[in-house]
Point group: C2
Chain length 122, copies 2
């Protein structure tokens, strides 16, 4: 397995396979974005949020992003709609559409996140 | 919720949220690719494979694809490596890299699949 730090510094170059459960990482001060892989076309992360932690609502020009809930429950805002979603649920934003996630529950939240294209193209 | 058939015919236009478990669909004759959403930047599907069904190894110029196992076990080929992966595992291919998936197990396999950019841009 090849391992090296990518240009963005947040990704390790790996060969094609991983177990997302190896990348769960929580910190008490803020949510964690853990890089799984990236290419110029897309990146894939896991976001790990303790209860009370959030990614503020924001938007990206020219990029689509989706969130897939792996564990816990997240309160997602997409555009002007906010919904609380559990495992197996997906939320996505089109270019310029506001989006964010907050853990209003009392258990840890793990979300698979992908965005295309990759704004930090390696 | 807005619903209409997209240009590719395989996606229904929806607003930002869905439960992937609503999109499980199996057929005895071949694996099912069920469209979740698409934008010009990416598409997101669930692939549903009965035991014995497969997506043949193939490659895409200029596109990155990943598979995330939701349920069951899949045998994934990425480049010249083949591994059997269970829930929570991810496999991905970079542009021009051969990739495919086969259900060699004895239970149904459900995989979240995303590709960027979208070759059938809506």
């Amino acid at each position: 397995m090849s391992r090296a730090t990518s240009s963005s510094g947040r990704y390790t170059l790996r060969m094609g396979f991983l177990d997302t459960s190896d990348f769960r990482r929580f910190e008490p001060d803020k949510m964690q974005k853990v890089g799984l892989f990236e290419t110029p076309q897309m990146f894939c992360d896991v976001y790990c949020l303790e209860p009370g932690q959030a990614q503020k609502v924001h938007a990206h020009a020219g990029a689509t992003k989706f969130y897939y809930v792996i564990e816990g429950e997240g309160t997602f805002t997409i555009g002007d709609t906010t919904r609380t979603l559990g495992p197996g649920h997906l939320a996505w934003s089109v270019p310029d559409e506001p989006h964010g996630v907050e853990n209003r529950g009392n258990v840890q939240l793990v979300v698979l996140v992908s965005m295309a294209p990759n704004p930090n193209s390696p």
